[in-house]
């Protein structure tokens, strides 16, 4: 039956770009450039099934045809000067320009349920049909300018300014701006060209700058409430009329304004021993103000979220990259790469009232990602075990005499979903035509709420639910009884009740998400020139590459990097697909 399900995508994509430059004078040019990306897709889906239990969700079979057309274009026009020598030591590169980015997606779907004549793939060959149409478009218009001054080819000063207008933030009668002006200034100096350096340093550059970025809402139509039609229906009197509803589950916000991101950065780039060793370091301090977020709302409000410009988030940290040839002799060399990043985030403010803002929640509602003023970004917030003054879990007997952990009535911070520390270490070993590369990566300081593990414990599929000595023996929970009596044993018959009670206690399934991953190993061999020359090849190599080879982590059963959803729900996990270990064999030929 699976073999009788078909779906295919016919995709046509056209990407084009054009650029023209005209020198008006010897120092001034005008340049126009445009890019178009147009994609048309035709999707065809047929799930055909056999009575009585076929494709379980639709025994009569379904088929659908969908046409999707996506259009994206960028148009820019600028006036500028390149390498304009203002004096002997001063060179200017500058331009002003304006541009427009636009995007649209149009989609029409024909769907039919209950196939009438088996084997005839035409949507009209179904007992009921449904049509659907979707359209969305957005654009950003920009005016910008940039000037870069180079002094003695060693000191560079760069200034930019840009104003963007966002269609997704525009609405008649709106009071807050739909555009923002943002600027940047940076200075860099190649010290090694300006002053005499110790002999081991062959290049040294210092840089520092401040930049702003503004952005609009990702999706159009989020500023006003819309009503849509869901189809039509015929009442008792035989009259068919359209049925309406409020569209979308996000509460619109008319006064959404652009978000801003400000960043200060200083850093240096140092190359030593004829560039055999390089050090790149930077320190940054940035803040995101008024990020445009769909804040979770209670389903009883009628909506699932509400669009808002959300407070301020600060991120400060360092990034360090060191590369060096640590050993070199004859045909053998060893390179080492190390990268390190440390980020401290803090929620400076949320909304006007300083409330906690729910970003996402797990399926069992035991924990969620929440922004809490004064805490890190991505706090895991949830219910926990009620404990006595000594930190022991408190248990209470249920009606059947089973000791059950007492769940907190409120929620608290259980961890942080975003790792503040990242580390990567790699090495390249070369011997004659062989090269061995190894790379490890690690993240520290984060926690994860694993809904997968919570579920496995609920249904008794987790190793953690097997007491020492096996299920038959039952076990004595580690804690105290609420009435001060002696701790009661959980018998084998009641293991399910015991674990079911803990299913929605958030703390039960929060784990430290620290991990070290053996992320890559490759061994390659370059075929000697003597052979490639005979075969008329430029070069040739063969290699074996293994990815995600090993993982050291305390999170049971799931990958500590699993995520519930890509955007803001970091730190929550449920039934994600594991990252597979892959081993591949590559042959590379260059002609």
């Amino acid at each position: 039956m699976v073999g009788r399900s078909r779906n295919y995508i016919d995709k046509q994509r056209l990407i084009g770009s054009i650029s023209a430059k005209y020198d008006i004078t010897d120092f001034l040019y005008v340049k126009g450039q445009g890019g178009v990306d147009r994609m048309n897709m035709h999707l065809n889906d047929q799930a055909f099934s056999l009575w009585p239990i076929g494709v379980a969700f639709s025994p009569g079979g379904i088929m659908s045809e969908q046409d999707v057309s996506i259009r994206q274009s960028d148009l820019d026009l600028f006036l500028g000067t390149d390498n304009l020598r203002l004096s002997n030591n001063l060179v200017l590169n500058a331009f002003i320009g304006s541009g427009r980015f636009s995007y649209s997606r149009e989609q029409s779907t024909l769907r039919g349920d209950n196939i009438v004549i088996p084997g005839v793939y035409d949507v009209r060959n179904t007992s009921s049909q449904l049509i659907d149409y979707y359209f969305a478009e957005k654009a950003i218009n920009s005016v910008y300018g940039s000037a870069e001054l180079a002094f003695k080819d060693a000191i560079f000063v760069s200034l930019t300014a840009r104003n963007d207008w966002f269609s997704t933030l525009s609405l008649a009668g709106k009071e807050s701006p739909n555009n923002d002006l943002y600027t940047s200034a940076s200075v860099s100096a190649v010290l090694s060209d300006l002053v005499t350096m110790p002999s081991i340093i062959n290049f040294a550059k210092l840089r520092g700058g401040y930049s702003q970025i503004a952005g609009g809402a990702d999706n159009p139509y989020g500023l006003s409430l819309n009503y849509g039609l869901t189809g039509s229906h015929t009442g008792n009197d035989g009259v068919s009329l359209p049925t309406g509803q409020i569209s979308g589950g996000t509460i619109p916000n008319k006064e959404i304004k652009p978000f801003q991101k400000n960043e200060s950065e200083i850093g240096f780039d140092l190359r030593m021993f004829q560039s055999k060793m390089t050090v790149d370091f930077s320190y940054y301090d940035n803040s995101t103000i008024g990020d445009i977020v769909a804040v979770s709302a209670s389903a009883t409000s009628g909506y699932t979220s509400s669009l808002a410009n959300l407070g301020e988030i600060s991120n400060k940290g360092i990034e360090l990259l060191i590369r060096g040839t640590v050993y070199e002799k004859g045909d053998f060399s060893a390179d080492l790469t190390l990268n390190y990043a440390k980020n401290n985030s803090e929620i400076i403010s949320t909304n006007d009232a300083g409330d906690n803002i729910f970003i996402d929640q797990t399926r069992n509602m035991a924990a969620g990602v929440t922004q809490v003023v004064g805490e890190q970004f991505g706090t895991i917030y949830g219910s926990y075990f009620q404990r006595d003054a000594n930190g022991n879990k408190i248990y209470s007997l249920n009606g059947d005499g089973v000791p059950l952990a007492v769940r907190s009535t409120d929620q608290k911070i259980l961890g942080n979903g975003v790792a503040p520390t990242q580390l990567g270490i790699g090495t390249d070993l070369r011997y004659k035509a062989f090269q061995l590369s190894v790379f490890f990566e690690a993240k520290f300081g984060a926690q994860i709420y694993s809904n997968t593990n919570a579920f496995m414990k609920l249904v008794g599929m987790s190793k953690e639910t097997i007491p020492e000595g096996g299920r038959e023996a039952g076990f004595l929970p580690d804690g105290v009884m609420d009435d001060g009596s002696e701790m009661v044993r959980v018998t084998k018959e009641n293991l399910d009740v015991f674990w079911a009670n803990q299913w929605d206690i958030g703390e039960e399934s929060v784990y430290d998400a620290d991990f070290i991953r053996f992320s890559q190993l490759s061994l390659s061999y370059s075929i000697p020139r003597s052979i490639t020359n005979k075969l008329n090849l430029g070069s040739a190599s063969v290699s074996v590459v293994g990815k995600n080879l090993a993982l050291w982590s305390d999170v049971p059963n799931v990958d500590p990097e699993s995520a519930y959803q890509a955007r803001n729900g970091q730190g929550l996990e449920y039934a994600g697909l594991p990252v597979p270990r892959t081993v591949g064999f590559n042959v590379s030929l260059k002609f």
């Binding site: 478009e137 957005k138 139509y221 409430l225 229906h233 009442g235 008792n236 209670s298």
Partner: protein, 342 residues
């Protein structure tokens, strides 16, 4: 220099002036409306409030019908084993609050905004239907958001407070009384009222019957009020015959939303069987409805039996087809489903 001037002239339309000229228009969804008339909203609210496949399947069939041992189902045995499932438990909650409740609140705000509709049959019908929706929520879940519910957009309430059941009940009763008082002889809803085609007399009876039912459910906790409300309901006039029943006519498509939600479940999941408890009860009492609720033809009458949850393990050795199924007449998607009847 002349060239530069020409060039600046060329660029000038792009610079500075009206850079967002077309944006206000662009950001309006061409496939949706910024407003909608009360009738079109009301038809949608009535249709979906009368039941959709989602809450019918996950809560009313898999949960309630199995709790009561009317039905059993191998594929979804949660109710027959009395196991908790948050999603199934919340089916009516998720369905009602996310659509009919928020739209009925929106309709009431729209009617309130106009002097000519702030009082009248349309407002009365909206209030009766709102009471009906909350009546289901309150009876299934008890304490729940009522006064603030569905007002995420209209009043910017993101986290509605839960209201005591007592407050919900008394307010629903008062709303029904108010609705009865403002109902006139006719309504502009006409055919958009899929239930009564704008027959305000029948709506009045529906409102009073609901008032009576709510009063009856209060008997054990507040007999005095219950009696007073019951008397008020009866004095106002309740449903008198089957012609007064509130029911939604269904059709076989084109969308699942048009179909009878329970029938969709029975036709999609042929492993839904009549429970032994229910079957045996009807059989032992020679109840003639046995042949209506269960399939009278197949398997042959007299040989088939109801299905009991304890037989689940044994079904691997037995053929599930030997158990009674729901009468296929209920599989027909155009079969009307009732919201409120005598």
């Amino acid at each position: 220099m002349k060239k530069i001037l020409i060039l600046l002239l060329l660029i000038s339309p792009f610079m500075g002036c009206d850079l967002d000229k077309d944006f206000e228009e662009m950001n309006i969804d061409p496939t949706k409306g910024a407003s909608l008339d009360v009738n079109t909203k009301m038809s949608g609210v009535l249709l979906r409030g009368a039941g959709t496949e989602y809450e019918m399947t996950v809560t009313k069939i898999i949960y309630f019908s199995q709790f009561n041992q009317y039905l059993v189902q191998n594929g979804f045995p949660q109710g027959m084993f009395y196991t908790f499932d948050g999603t199934y438990n919340a089916g009516i909650w998720d369905s009602y609050y996310s659509d009919p409740i928020k739209t009925i609140q929106d309709i009431i705000v729209q009617l309130e905004a106009d002097e000519s509709t702030i009082v009248g049959s349309e407002m009365a019908i909206a209030k009766i239907w709102r009471a009906y929706l909350f009546h289901e929520i309150a009876d299934v879940y008890g304490q729940s958001p009522y006064f603030d519910a569905g007002k995420g957009y209209t009043d910017a309430i993101l986290k509605p407070a839960y209201d005591p059941l007592e407050d919900i009940y008394f307010d629903m009763l008062e709303e029904l009384e108010e609705a009865g008082a403002m109902m006139t002889n006719s309504s502009t809803l006409g055919s958009a009222d899929f239930i009564y085609q704008g027959d305000t007399d029948k709506w009045k009876k529906f409102g009073n019957s609901m008032m009576l039912r709510l009063a009856m459910r209060m008997m054990e906790v507040d007999e005095v009020s219950a009696k007073a409300w019951a008397a008020k309901a009866i004095a106002g006039g309740t449903m008198a015959s089957n012609a007064d029943n509130a029911y939604m006519a269904r059709q076989d498509g084109p969308q699942d939303g048009n179909r009878n939600a329970a029938a969709l479940h029975f036709s999609k999941y042929p492993d839904t069987k009549v429970a032994a408890t229910f079957y045996d009860y009807l059989d032992d009492n020679n109840d003639p409805r046995l042949a209506i609720f269960t399939d009278p033809a197949s398997p042959a009458r007299g040989e088939f039996v109801g299905y009991s949850p304890t037989e689940l393990a044994a079904t691997f050795d037995m053929t599930i087809d030997s158990f009674a199924v729901v009468n296929p007449v209920f599989d027909e998607n155009e079969y009307s489903d009732s919201s409120f009847e005598l």
